[in-house]
Symmetry: C4
Subunit: 230 residues, 4 copies
């Protein structure tokens, strides 16, 4: 079972690398098998070139304990675990340092919904977390990174806002599967780039109206969607 | 007859994708056969890879009713129809979310004619529509998108201003044929990029003079043009 | 004789296209044979793909009259001629609409000498012309474009400032040969990009000192140069 | 002995060129063999295409005198020598004019530590030197360039801050080997780009906290590092 998941997570990691969002070894994709209680994630610091399913590491979803011992899992493992535990609809998580989304995270600004491109995928602004406190950094830093993401998602459907920016750090994105999570990370970067260019042209751009946001989001998502083939 | 048009529209869609202006499945090209009263447009949400003329859908120009039933036409179909009905000289329409033109649309600013590159293709600023009202969004949204484009073109020759920006959305471009429309969409993106970079260097750049605008536009267009080979 | 020059000018045009500076058919390179009194330039509006020496057109340096009649020379021919006539040390001229240099031209700003990269190739700011008057645009527009370039070069050695920006239009670059002119056009675009990014970081950047400008320029140019192999 | 070093330095120069950081012939990599008292550096003004170990030049670390006479060493040789002499832990030095790092150097601004991407490689801001005085430019310019870099490193471990910007000039980077130095030059450019984009979104971005800086830097560096495989 976890072999199939390892293949899917490896494929998603390679798709992420091919998208140009990954610089150096910065970035990782995970997936979850909830029935088995297992999360699979890229090993820490492994290069993308020559990557195979062997470089994916399984850990227990409840305790975080590795089920594989040949390689250490990504150092961001506790952040991924925190998201899966709190968000049952999520099947894949991605972390990147893609340049435009990271620039917004470094600016500590949510990405406003400035256009319908944004509204096609995100039902509102892409939130930015608060900064972690010194205590949160010193102890359980990676798990606390997950916690501040969950704070900004409070009361939202995570699949209607499938990404968040960690202040001073970079983006996390997610979706129903590892492949969808990678797709959302790619879209996030395009939206972050378009929004940055918009601020170049008009320093304080206004978000689109609630009506336009709803129109576009629900054209693509939910029971009444009309976009695409049936 | 509509087979030839489907080939031309498919070719134009593929040229659009090859130009790098299309992200994900955002973008579509249509063409018209006015004698037959038929518009052909890309099917909704179809990937560009492996696209053939079979993925093009014919609809009636007057009623918008599909003449093909194997695939749903692009969700932007009513916008394209509105443009063809009001602009008899137009033979092809393109919609993209190309990043720089979309950034201007998100900033809700017309692209001023800042240089002769612009004047070679557009006889004045590239207009930006007003925002749609809540009522216009709720009912016949896509047709109303066409209507606000027509508002900003009022009194202009559409082939002298072969594109417009929809506020908070993105660009539509057009031309005498689907191929020309794609060419104009590509040029628009270059002009949008150059204009954005100009605002980086000089925050409030002045447009070129009327004389320079006319000189360059009419060097390339109209009965007295001198550019190119005869 | 003019066949060799046509080959050189064609090669330089193709190098320009390969550099990525040319969008659509915007751009042209010329060369001169002063002994023969002949200038060779790209034909007007000819695509770069499939371009051969046959697409180059010879004109008389003194009168501007075509020596070839199979194709019309570039519409910018009178600008090139004006530069060759006034600047005897120039053997090649390039015109592009490369995006960053054009953005400075649209902003109507000289590119200041902000760093040693600039000083390695330009011994001072890259000047920007004044705007042409309505009368200068209406009559002999292209020759007047050459004239305003020569105005901003007054008193300078053209090979120490091998490019200028035409306000509201774009860059012209030159050099001892068509190949050198293309090289300078490519460097100009890099310098324009670096200078634009500098203004993003520090809105009013100061130029480097005269001493640093001289040091770098004369390390590479003139009798005392030390850069490169002998 | 110096043949092996020449191979390593040549390989690092080619890696630098392949990274896209080098424009024209701007850029050079050196390496050192401290036991032999020899530095090897790229020859001056040599193109990257067709470059082999034969194009690397050995000079004495103490006097700077060439041990090879077939080619002149890079004109930046005295800067490299100054760094090796003062920084015993450094085994490779790189100089580039990469666009974003050069833009910061031209803006005469240190690159602040705006995010964890930065903190993963640099334990604090990437410093920018003061401008050289006219006297420092006139006499021993290249050695004085090394001296102002050493000034801004004073009291720091050079491997915790493996790059600096020379005001009005561009970046120098270093590492334990020529290969590491190139890696740091590549990372520097990414950080410079992200920081520039951050200032586009938030004109005066705040650096990350000391706790976050330490957390990320020491996750990757030093005896307690946890990142990567053992």
């Amino acid at each position: 079972m976890s072999d199939t998941l390892k293949e899917a997570v490896c494929t998603a990691n390679l798709k992420l690398a091919a998208s140009g969002l990954v610089i150096d070894t910065w970035g990782n994709v995970s997936g979850v098998d909830r029935a088995a209680g297992v999360m699979v994630i890229k090993a820490s610091g492994v290069p993308y070139e020559g990557m195979t399913a062997e470089h994916m590491v399984a850990v227990r979803l409840d305790t975080g304990k590795p089920l594989d011992t040949h390689l250490k899992p990504s150092s961001d493992t506790p952040t991924h675990l925190a998201l899966y535990r709190a968000l049952p609809q999520v099947g894949g998580v991605v972390h990147t340092h893609s340049v435009y989304a990271t620039a917004w995270a470094q600016a500590r600004r949510a990405i406003p919904a400035l256009g319908t491109t944004h509204a096609d995928y995100f039902h509102g602004p892409i939130p930015c977390t608060r900064e972690l406190t010194a205590a949160e950094i010193r102890t359980d830093y990676e798990a606390n990174t997950g916690a501040v993401i969950l704070e900004v998602l409070a009361g939202r459907d995570a699949l209607e806002v499938p990404a968040a920016l960690v202040a001073g750090h970079g983006p996390f994105a997610w979706g129903g599967s590892p492949d969808e999570a990678v797709h959302n990370a790619i879209l996030l970067e395009h939206l972050a780039r378009m929004a940055a260019l918009t601020t170049l042209i008009a320093p304080k751009p206004r978000p689109i109206t609630r009506e336009l946001l709803d129109k576009h989001f629900f054209r693509k998502h939910g029971p009444g969607h009309t976009y695409g083939q049936d």
